[in-house]
């Protein structure tokens, strides 16, 4: 018990879980060339706890027991604590080359959301289950994914609508007995689930009374019977056409997680039919997780800024006015993101005793990142030049017949070799493009989801502002 080592974490994944990739069943996720890279990425969280320079950030003494626990599973008590957690996520992502480990962070957000919601419901059994599960995670330092997004079918219809093609487009309770509940359905885009110990399952939308079988939240081990994961392919190795780079590739895959009549014991059930609390649970998770999102996007945003400046210098255009304007725009983008993420810790709110980074500000932070990332991508593409997609390969560089030409002709400003430019362009091809853009737009909820949260959370502020102008206009309503 206590902190798990990186080695223990990896070994713990050989548990018979059912995972498919590219049409094949993967017997041991720790041995598969793609999934192993993802697992190594997740293991960074555990490694940080073992590294002297990060230990203080990653680990904290339990306020009651004094035992060392992951900072993610610790309950922040003031804005200092919130800022520390924020800095931990930034540091972990920087270590992961722009990829957050996802071992504890998202699970902790779900754990806290479940705790807050249990308190809101005021049912003692839920409060105790949530608290006991928190202690379980703290004591065993387990990695945990969060399965939220249902596959949904027709997005315009409610879960229980008879116009849906079938009743299972949202995860639902199909049976209950004295041991627990039986659930059916599927969740999409579940990052890191294939190499997490546990899985939180929570609703992804508001529910009406008719939907009450869909108002269900629980946690289960990833190897639970009836759970099948279908992962999607990810690029985890450089190809033979690429320049070799010593920095390891970091990546995650996401799973379509299918629950084919899965049994969940009562002590792991955190919502079951209380349809009025589906939405609060969603919101409580979203509050916390959008702050996580805003945090881990900082290193990626900084990479866009760094790449733009590097390519500008390599091409000799860093003082061209329109280039300097683009760099300035990128600085504004990065520093606004950082300031919003930090301000949300400073001006936190408290829900049922749990500190929550200011919801309006952290949603604004995440939205700022996602709404403008395409502009930043465009700026980098503009500065980098067409060679981004027309650059010759490492093999052309190695072949002496073509390598001599490449070395001669693809140099840049003084002191910048063709190799430097080709290496930077290679990095940029990984940094830019579809996956970056789609993840920005959709991970942690769509742009519209953030806008809705911002709107509803700021209704009191809107009203205050309205009343002030009414006074100024001499209007008494």
């Amino acid at each position: 018990m206590g902190l798990m080592s990186a080695k223990e974490y990896k070994e713990s994944l050989r548990d018979g879980r059912t995972v498919y990739l590219e049409g094949q069943k993967i017997e041991d996720v720790t041995a598969h060339p793609t999934l192993r890279v993802c697992m190594e990425t997740a293991a960074i969280d555990y490694e940080m706890a073992e590294m002297p320079e990060y230990r203080e950030l990653a680990v904290v003494a339990h306020p009651k027991t004094g035992e060392l626990i992951s900072r993610y599973y610790y309950n922040p008590r003031d804005s200092e604590d919130l800022l520390k957690r924020h800095e931990l996520m930034v540091a972990a992502t920087a270590l992961g080359g722009g990829v957050i480990p996802f071992s504890h962070d998202v699970g902790a957000d779900a754990m806290n959301a479940v705790n807050v919601t249990a308190n809101m419901m005021g049912k003692e059994e839920y409060v105790q289950r949530a608290e006991s599960y928190r202690r379980y995670l703290q004591n065993n330092d387990l990695s945990i994914a969060c399965a939220m997004t249902d596959v949904k079918g027709d997005r315009a219809l409610r879960p229980s609508s008879s116009n849906q093609g079938h009743p299972d487009y949202y995860v639902r309770v199909v049976d209950k007995n004295d041991k627990g509940i039986v659930v059916r359905g599927a969740k999409a885009h579940i990052t890191a689930a294939a190499y997490s110990n546990e899985m939180f399952v929570i609703p992804c939308r508001n529910m009406s009374e008719e939907d009450k079988d869909y108002a269900v939240a629980f946690a289960i081990p990833a190897d639970t019977k009836g759970v099948t994961q279908i992962c999607h392919p990810v690029m985890t190795r450089l190809s033979s056409l690429d320049f070799p780079v010593e920095v390891p590739v970091r990546a995650h895959t996401d799973s379509l997680v299918v629950f084919d009549d899965v049994s969940v014991p009562w002590d792991r059930v955190f919502l079951c039919g209380e349809w009025q609390f589906a939405m609060p649970l969603v919101y409580n998770f979203a509050y916390l997780h959008r702050h996580t999102a805003a945090s881990y996007r900082i290193p990626m945003s900084e990479a866009l800024l760094g790449a733009a400046q590097a390519m500008a210098e390599y091409n000799g255009i860093e003082t061209a006015p329109h280039v300097r304007e683009k760099i300035t725009d990128l600085v504004i983008y990065v520093d606004t993101l950082k300031s919003l993420a930090r301000a949300s810790c400073v001006d936190y709110v408290t829900h049922s005793g749990v500190l929550i980074p200011n919801p309006v500000i952290s949603n604004t932070a995440k939205y700022h990142f996602a709404e403008r990332v395409h502009d930043c991508v465009k700026a980098v593409e503009d500065i980098a030049g067409g060679l981004l997609i027309t650059a010759p390969t490492y093999k052309d560089y190695q072949n002496p017949d073509t390598g001599k030409y490449i070395e001669k002709y693809l140099g840049g400003a003084a002191g910048i070799s063709a190799e430097h430019r080709l290496r930077m362009l290679q990095l940029l091809r990984r940094l830019l493009g579809l996956e970056t853009e789609v993840t920005a737009v959709h991970a942690e909820g769509s742009l519209q989801a953030q806008r809705m949260t911002i709107y509803f959370e700021s209704l009191p502020e809107i009203d205050k502002c309205k009343k002030a102008v009414e006074r100024a206009a001499g209007i008494n309503r």
Copy 2:
């Protein structure tokens, strides 16, 4: 000595200063119908020190003497102090119906900039003069304007360029003697100078060695011989076509301040020929003043949000999707501004012992406000409707022949009378429009000035980000 009362402030302005307005010389600015309103606006600063609910915010004990002084003239020691000063400016502006008093704030920014620059120059006499002038302001609680923007002539030419129409387009030293210096030139857009006690005069751009006569900074009383102010008209009364409103109109005017061979004693000279320090003085002022700007724009931004919501409700469209999106955009605008202004206090820097709100972040805050204000104005105009400009007048409302039609036909959603709508539209006509837009774009430096500061201040951050991507790409330079 010590704090000045609002009454004393007003009386102090009957000093024989030379002020023109609408082509006429104003003998007593405190008696002129327009200038009196401006003076009343400025007096709010002094009134707050007398109001129990604001006293703690507005006044602070001098750390050495214990004497009560204006918080503006107090040296902040930590982020708490910076946040308090920020909150004072927000509160004062809210009290001023969206107009900041401008009695101490901008002058304090200049005072601090002069102090920092004196320390940077390392000349003992400048350090002592700056420090002594700070004590003078603290002890006498004087209001002080800051005259920065020269009239410039051809903006593409240096001050000393022989291609300028004449050598006086930037304020310059035309003579020196043992008593002091003699200066000539003119400064434009000097807000509140017509009703301030003193006036800081500082350069507005970098200087080369040829420009050294233009590298001059000093402070003088507003009634100094040779100083002529030409103010521009401002709307300080509601017209007879307007609905009467009890809330007083608040406004400022700006002066074209002409220095026609004005003598300045040496102990009020803070820069005289040290051309290398013209730019640092400009920057030090800009750092501080853009934070002031970001602060005092918060109530005005909140008014735009409040007005949009009010008109949406009056028109019955507050739940229309495109209206809700616009309200959400306004919330994002306001909360980003507030978060950036606050974050700049949290992550402050220290220059020569003076605490400076983070320059990149506070410039980003001011830029955010100014860059997007037109979008906000557009949203409010869109929601308010064409009645904004086609509304009948209060006289039409009073005339029973037309009033009956107006009352019947210009009502809005349930419970919203025609009078309510007309009153809100009247307020909006003051809130929106040319003055708001131009002030946003140009006060405290143009958009481009803020972009330049952001760029140059973030060069170390840019470089750090660049080096990180180079490492990731396997590039050793």
Copy 3:
């Protein structure tokens, strides 16, 4: 009969109409200092028919009778004709210093919409009434306004909703008899109605069966009994603080037009209860009128471009990179507007025998103008500088004590006197600001109204594009 002279037009307005302005009843609109300026603006249409250089553009032979008629009342037969009409509006607006005369243009759009809709309904009596009214306008060359926008009350409710404060928020038929109908209600923002001969009244939204009393369209003389107009104040003279300018001020006012149980004879009724055709009539008018709008905004857009370049040169910044970028953005704005307006004539459609500029393209043109005008205003404000609002007045310039300073200090780049700059700034204050912005956003329908038209009109195009990608994806539905 035949063409009316400008003199005849003006005389025709002394007809006892009921018009109020600033709370007073105006006995003779042609004699009132404000309304006379508006009338002179409208008279440009009639003057052009008398000016040799415009006669060919303004006047055309009736294809059957050969009699000369206004081009506005002529039925275009090909894209050449549409382009000619477009060029007429551009020329008239340029002559009007950026203000379109509004004597025939908007009325012609309504006339054509009424004709098309009559044909769509297929009721012979409507077809004949519409045709006969067209001949009446052609033969008498009358000026005619179009009253479309109802006062609406709660915009979220239907006209007939019992939740509306009263049943008259939309113009409706309160009685019918063998002579005609009696109508009650009020229309807002009716430009030029106070100095037009006639007035078209048409619905402004779709109607359901319950709203059928509100599905009414008709035309009446402006002096019809029961019609009261309440105009809003407009600035039609330069003040004594302004530099005198020889170019006449051009302006329009808009009326709140109240119909207090007004009788309309049957031969002037074009819709009465056919609620299904309220929307088609709205759309047919909008198709035509948004093209008119896109046309007459061209000179105004060109003025923004010209003003930006003028001020850039006066300030000596026309080659600064960020200024050149803003000028380029303005060129793109202007030329996109012009290209869209012209392309809509080239790719016209035909509705019931009437040529309609392509609805998607002309709505896109109008939307382009309105959606981006704030950006253009911002660019001009940015380039012009703070003097836009802080400039001294003509009186200060005349007073020798201050005039000498202004002349010396407010000069610009070589050869640009203070007077030049002050004159241009004075023009800009009229060109920019609230009225420009609100008119852009709301005249001829809101931004959202144009977006809706674009969406619904392009459904077939959207579907065609969708089917093409489905084929490419191998999807057979």
Copy 4:
């Protein structure tokens, strides 16, 4: 002689040209699996001339000889001709599944630019060479690429700058003799050069007198001695993880073309030392080619619109307000592009007897496409959902253990099977992403290049607008 068949075109490529791909020398480009697909794409141009439904568009009788020639090599005589050529490019690109064949179009732009520039220079020999080469292309119907972009080295330095790493960063004349010239250098991003018959080589920037050796333009066969092409990899086959689709994959590759002391006979030299005409040649090519660019981007833009609508329907969200707004934005994008491209044909200009689509408008068209494409990509990504990157593969769909879950859970709105959604997402992954974005930004010149053209080409229009506002302000300069 005369038109070449698609078969003849392909056979003509077996000519011993030196082409490398992925580090390997390709002996026969027509036999290589990747290059063959590119060649098939280029062959569409030749196939259209053979297809009855396109023949009239693709082929035209030579006005003098009456012989049938490609429309691309025909000289347009009026706006009708320009519109026909525009429609040919749109149709060819639609046939190519969004990829333009590139066999004649870009070469024809270069050919016309060379003709115009020869006339501008007024040297008879150049005029005759250009005319004779045009006849050669007409008579032999050859495909021809255009090599314009030099590799540049330090972009801030001139070609002849001694600070460049070596003197060959721009193609230059290293020797002349009585047979012709010898050239050295390299051109980057040369689309379709690997499977074109000929290659135009023209400068890519303005030149000063020092650069005169770099002021060179010529045409040579692709198999000329000393010419080496290094292509970049392209995706020309669906992978085994993809759903099979019957529609062929279309693609191009681009070459880095190296000129290692290549001899060019005098009759193929079109510029040699006349440095003043480097820029006019660049501009003349850019005028024409940006219109080509605007034309061939239409089908691709329509595909984005179609994809957005398809995915919106599949997901059941096509009536959600924010989705409808995005669709509307895409319609505005597409129709503005189409209108600008067409308007540039209507308002053409004539340079040295050659009709040129209006340069300001066609540059605005290309710029509009490129400047806003990221917004469109974002809209499609937003509507499509995270499944864009997390979708399971065709192999998962085929494996019955996972296929049953996929079929059940990844269905969408009523009637939309999982297969439909997965197929559309697969298409979108090809349509979106880095290559689309970078090509949009950089092909046919960067965003900034278009802005510069727009600015300089519109200087007369800007001046006209400025003079108009000066008149209105009463300013006589």
